[in-house]
């Protein structure tokens, strides 16, 4: 529950951050490297930009990237996973083999290469992530659809004259939605970290502020060496907290779907998220 509230705050910041921020993200608002104070809540960076404003504005890029990528990857996984498992035979063989081949390619390096060659925009990045990240999802969804589509009620629906399309949308989809939700949250977490990583490597969209860029700038321009904590820590903490929030939601959802998990891990760490307070 706590993590849901946190996520809501994050989404709120992403949506309204630029309005809440006291300064525009690229505006040179003060003198360089000011310590946190009344005028600049978290101080300024080497260009004199307000770090608090950058932090608020950066949320949008990271969240949009994560959720858009996750949405695309879940859609990819749902479409191909369902088709693959439902029709079986040669269709299944072809899709599964393509997934096998693609999964031998290391994801992040491949992403880096593609991002370097394609125009850098968070939408293109999200699309690439979605397609690449959806591959694992295809396997997960496929295994679930395999078990559902062999169930007798699917057989029965067919005996009553339903078409394949109808069975997939009305009987199989509701059965895999919970799993798709968990896949979505997990993918969102992974993609946000990836996005921050790309930003850190300087491969993000240069026109948009994101947390990865901020960390990168602080790191390479001496924030780390000079011990200027207000420059380096806020974006880093923001990333860690967001990632943890999503992970907890993911665990909570998993437990809701598979209640047996609640008894397996009694450790407070895992259960203090969404599930226990329900």
């Amino acid at each position: 529950m706590a993590s849901l509230i946190l996520l809501a705050i994050y989404i709120g910041i992403a949506a309204f951050g630029p309005c809440l921020a006291p300064y525009a993200s690229s505006e040179i608002a003060g003198s360089p490297l000011e310590e946190p104070g009344r005028l600049h809540l978290l101080g300024t960076n080497d260009l004199g930009q307000d770090i608090f404003s950058n932090l608020l504005c950066g949320a949008r890029a990271t969240l949009v990237l994560g959720f858009l990528g996750a949405l695309l990857s879940v859609l990819t996984a749902l479409t191909f996973g369902t088709i693959s498992a439902y029709y079986g035979g040669r269709t299944d063989e072809i899709i599964s083999r393509i997934v096998d081949i693609m999964m031998t390619l290391p994801g992040f390096p491949l992403l880096i290469v593609l991002v370097v060659f394609l125009p850098s925009s968070i939408f293109i990045m999200a699309a690439i992530m979605g397609l690449l990240g959806g591959l694992q999802g295809i396997r997960i969804i496929r295994s679930q659809v395999l078990s559902i589509s062999r169930a007798e009620y699917i057989y029965g629906t067919r005996a009553l004259g339903a078409s394949d399309h109808y069975i997939m949308s009305r009987h199989i989809l509701p059965g895999i939605l919970p799993l798709a939700a968990v896949t979505f949250i997990n993918a969102a977490q992974r993609f946000m970290l990836m996005g921050v990583g790309l930003g850190f490597l300087g491969l993000g969209d240069p026109n948009v502020v994101d947390w990865g860029q901020m960390i990168s700038r602080a790191y390479s321009n001496g924030g780390f060496a000079l011990g200027l904590w207000w420059w380096l820590l806020p974006p880093g903490l923001a990333v860690v907290l967001l990632s943890m929030t999503l992970a907890l939601i993911g665990y909570g959802l998993e437990e809701e779907i598979e209640p047996r998990l609640k008894n397996i891990n009694n450790s407070k760490w895992f259960t203090n998220g969404y599930a226990r307070n329900n």
């Binding site: 035979g89 169930a151 007798e152 009620y153 699917i154 057989y155 029965g156 629906t157 067919r158 005996a159 009553l160 004259g161 339903a162 078409s163 109808y166 009305r170 009987h171 509701p174 059965g175």
Partner: protein, 309 residues
Amino acid sequence: MLEIINLKTQFPSPDGLVNAVDSADLQIEDNERLGLIGETGCGKTVLGMSIIRLLPPSTRIHGQIIYKGRDLLNLKEEEMRLLRGKEISMILQNPTTSLNPVLKIGDQIAEVIQLHKDCNRKEAKTKAVEILAAAMIPEAPKRADQYPHELSGGMKERVMIVMGLASQPSFVIADEPTKGLDSGTKAEIIRLIRDMTSGRSMLMITHDLAAAGEICDRIAVMYAGELLEMASAKTILHDPQHPYTQGFINSLPSRGLLPISGSSPSLIDPPHGCRFHPRCPWAMDICRREHPQIIKLEKGHFSRCFLCA
């Protein structure tokens, strides 16, 4: 109404071809209810599935299944789909696993109506509640709003029956509708099936001879993929001619639970000669050597046995 001519259904398996249904000939008249009786694994369900053509793609089906003048085995998959549910419907076995656990009862019945009738979801749902009520289900509107796990076994079986008949099909295949029910519930289900299928043709697949006797007009007995005896329900119950049918009836609880010795033969490599001879108390020399043909004993009574010849 339905005529099955020389139907052979075979499944390839690692150990060889499984002859689940072997050279079956069967007719079902308009408004006739035929019971198909046999032990587990004798091929009776596969025969039903062959009619509605819902078998794994690797299955080999030969012969003809003529329904209202059309050979079902020659229809395209799409034509077949349009027949399923509308003309030929099915009441599946195992109501617990045959209902979708995540959809409400009412929605699942409405779905059948909507698939075959031109009406919107709301009308279909109203109709679903009506037919639930007609099937003597108490508090039908409440039941329609419940999920399968909230219903008892007998209630779920009723829902299965209602679903199978919701589209007013002219031919129904009922697969073990009385399986796993206590005797009180079973009597109610039998009455429900009898009432709801009157005026329709039905193939009732079961190993419950008593239930078949109460519901069906005629009974066919199947053993190791073959039809052994066929006659009116009364004749099968009171004057069976085939030793297997006699043994089957003697194994009923009311007749003293006398089992037939031995176990069912393999469908991959059935016994030579008469398939029942290794278990038959009257087996003769000829039974081991030759495969008996099905012969007509009197009007409407057929048996596959050298003793009856």
